[in-house]
């Protein structure tokens, strides 16, 4: 049964999780080895799914009536995200061999990382909304456990709890969506729903659409839930690279892209998605410009780039968003792991204490530069192509122009904060620390090199990826433009020719040059900031606001305080006396009885 293969990307990491856990913390060497073996195996099973990316292979395990059947299916979208999860997962595990060397409770660490890889594969492979919800929550659990991995550090624990609570809000939206779907169609099957979204009444459909938007925003740390991601940076850096940059935070974008055909026509939904994406991209880019913690800068940058993807979905560029998702996973994982090497070498995350690391860490400098240039959107690196596609989608399709212009502004800001980050870390005068710094170790290099190669080359997959998505997603309308079709005719081979064609088309677009100009202005503005001092001074207010994360932390605090106050106030009702509790149960029973009788009567 060839379709049993579909279980492997979930099963192999989960087996590894058990194995590492059972080995016990007395044998750290064996734990490292086992984790690497199982994650690489998982990566191999993920890659083995690629031949199925353009067709639909399904697997159905009947589970009786209470739960939905366990359904897995391949298509371009799910296979590609499985590959991202398993391959980047295995690289993060390899990186951890150096990074986590000598840490306590490695069993817990590796078990949760492997458990996460399996859950993420399940999340994207399943076609049942209920099971999607289950896997969705499993990834949130792993994220929580790994953020709070250093559980003797109150900051880490608080960050973990914050992430857990905020993503739960999103999970609620997804659960409601799933239950509504079941109530109206009697099945949780996603594809059945996408084929005919009108089985659900329009009002409920729009509730579902906005519920899913909230779910996606919470999971992907989008406006107004973006505050959990920077606090999640207390996690060990490979975890940040894997969960909080490359995979889990993409689940929200995946959800929106997957359900785009169903919600496309809901009035106001696309605009709402675009605005959420735009606000996240813009505000997070501003915050990245003023942060001093290296990992926080990268976290804000992740929020910003996810904002680009969300915006692209809203703008109708589903393909552009997924393509940027791929590019971003690769170069952001590279940046995070590079930052991990820097942090490991120096023992600090504060960029003000770095500087001049170019000499002492030449290898890290080289790969980090590659990732940074891709993030800034410099041509021929993968970030350039995908970002262009997004902005092109935003400028076309009759989308509001003002949002597109703000996105272009965010592109410039991206370039500016990237240059700031790189110059603070690797250039300038070295501080006292950098003599002790050591460059990345062997395992770290093994993980960084493939990612660097990917940053240089994944844009070549544009054509094959596009054909795979187009042939396997029957309900999505994917489009790139018209020019490429002619080019494909000339080039003959439809897949690789398309890369060429799209490349040509992008180079011909005036918007490309516009964006490139903005990127260069962003670069120059940062490099020449001393000359522009008077201009920058006028934006002092913005800087202040950005450092205070635009008041969202204050809102969070207020909510937390309010909840605690309510809890304290309700404490009076908890007398602890059995008689009162029984009395309350009886009272509740009476209320339910009366309600049902009223329901019967009407």
């Amino acid at each position: 049964m060839v379709n049993g293969w579909l279980l492997l990307p979930i099963g192999v990491p989960w087996l590894g999780c058990l194995a590492v856990w059972l080995v016990g913390d007395r044998k750290p060497r064996l734990q490292h080895t086992l984790a690497v073996i199982f994650s690489v195996l998982a990566g191999a099973t993920g890659l083995a799914l690629i031949p199925w990316s353009s067709q639909r292979a399904t697997l159905l395990l009947p589970l009786g009536g209470v739960f939905d059947d366990f359904r897995l299916a391949t298509d371009g979208l799910s296979v590609f995200l499985t590959v991202v999860a398993t391959v980047i997962g295995s690289l993060a595990v390899i990186f951890s061999v150096d990074y986590m060397h000598g840490e306590h409770s490695l069993g817990r660490y590796y078990a949760f990382v492997l458990f996460f890889i399996g859950s993420m594969s399940g999340l994207v492979l399943t076609t049942s909304l209920l099971w999607m919800f289950v896997f969705w929550e499993l990834t949130a659990l792993c994220s929580y456990a790994l953020i709070a991995f250093h559980n003797d550090d109150p900051k880490a624990v608080r960050g973990g709890v914050k992430a857990l609570i905020m993503t739960q809000l999103g999970g609620l939206g997804l659960l409601f969506g799933a239950l509504w779907l079941y109530a109206y169609t009697g099945s949780y099957d996603i594809n059945q729903f996408l084929g005919n979204p009108n089985v659900v009444p329009p009002a409920v459909l729009s509730w579902m659409a906005f519920g899913f938007l909230i779910a996606a925003a919470a999971k992907s740390a989008q406006f107004p839930f973006q505050t959990w991601l920077p606090d999640a940076m207390e996690a060990p850096t490979p975890v940040s690279a894997l969960i909080h940059a490359a995979t889990m935070v993409n689940a929200g974008v995946y959800l929106l892209a997957r359900f785009y055909p169903a919600f496309e026509a809901v009035p106001g939904w696309r605009l709402a998605v675009m605005i959420v994406g735009m606000l996240s991209a813009l505000l997070a880019a501003l915050m990245a410009l003023v942060a001093f913690d290296l990992k926080r800068v990268l976290a804000y940058s992740t929020v910003s780039q996810l904002g680009f993807m969300v915006y692209a979905v809203g703008a109708g560029g589903v393909f552009a968003s997924q393509f940027h998702l791929m590019s971003h996973s690769v170069f952001k994982a590279l940046l995070f792991l590079g930052a991990g090497a820097v942090i490991h070498g120096l023992g600090t995350r504060d960029m003000r204490q770095m500087g001049g690391l170019r000499q002492s860490m030449p290898f890290t400098h080289a790969v980090f530069m590659l990732g940074a240039l891709a993030l800034a959107g410099i041509p021929i690196l993968n970030g350039f192509w995908s970002k262009e596609l997004i902005l092109e989608a935003g400028l076309g399709h009759g989308n509001p122009a003002w949002i597109a212009w703000l996105m272009i502004l965010s592109t410039g800001l991206t370039a500016a904060y990237t240059v700031r980050m790189v110059s603070l870390v690797f250039y300038g005068n070295g501080s006292k620390h950098h003599h002790e710094a050591h460059d990345a170790g062997m395992a770290m290099r093994t993980a960084l090199l493939p990612l660097a190669a990917g940053t240089l080359s994944t844009w070549l997959l544009l054509g094959p990826f596009y054909t795979a998505l187009k042939s396997s997603l029957p309900y999505h309308t994917l489009e790139l433009g018209t020019v490429w079709e002619e080019v494909v005719k000339v080039a003959g081979s439809p897949e690789w020719g398309m890369t060429l064609g799209v490349g040509m088309e992008i180079l011909r677009e005036p918007s490309t040059y516009l964006v490139l100009c903005v990127v260069i202005v962003g670069l120059v503005a940062w490099l020449g900031r001393s000359r522009l001092a008077s201009l920058i001074a006028t934006f002092k207010g913005v800087e202040k606001a950005a450092q205070a994360s635009f008041g969202f932390e204050a809102i969070n605090e207020a909510v937390v305080q309010a909840v605690q106050k309510t809890g304290e106030a309700l404490r009076v009702t908890q007398t602890g006396y059995l008689a009162w509790n029984v009395f309350a149960i009886l009272l509740g029973w009476l209320v339910v009885l009366i309600l049902t009788m009223l329901g019967r009567a009407s």
Binding site: R571, Q574, T575, G576, Y577, L578, A579, V582, F583, L586
Partner: protein
Amino acid sequence: MDYLDGVIVLLVVLGLVGIGIYAIMVSRNLIKIIIGMQVMVKGVLLAFVLAGRVSGNMGLGQSLALTVIVVDTIVAVVALALAVRVRRRFGTLDPRALTTLRR
């Protein structure tokens, strides 16, 4: 079994459950509370059998009742063991002493 029999059994069920709940609410001795719980569960057992009879699905009602008997025994055993622990720890069987979880 005609309609009247059903009503009588239902009244017995309500009576047993009511007695049980009353005992749980007013007793100040954990052992008596556990006994009250047992009485209540016996009422529920009867209700299962009755429901099986009324719905014409005797087998289901009886098997559920058997399951509840087994579960109920375990509950009673665990509850009594807890009562022993409570007595040793607090020196009393009064449930009003067990409010330490409140704060």
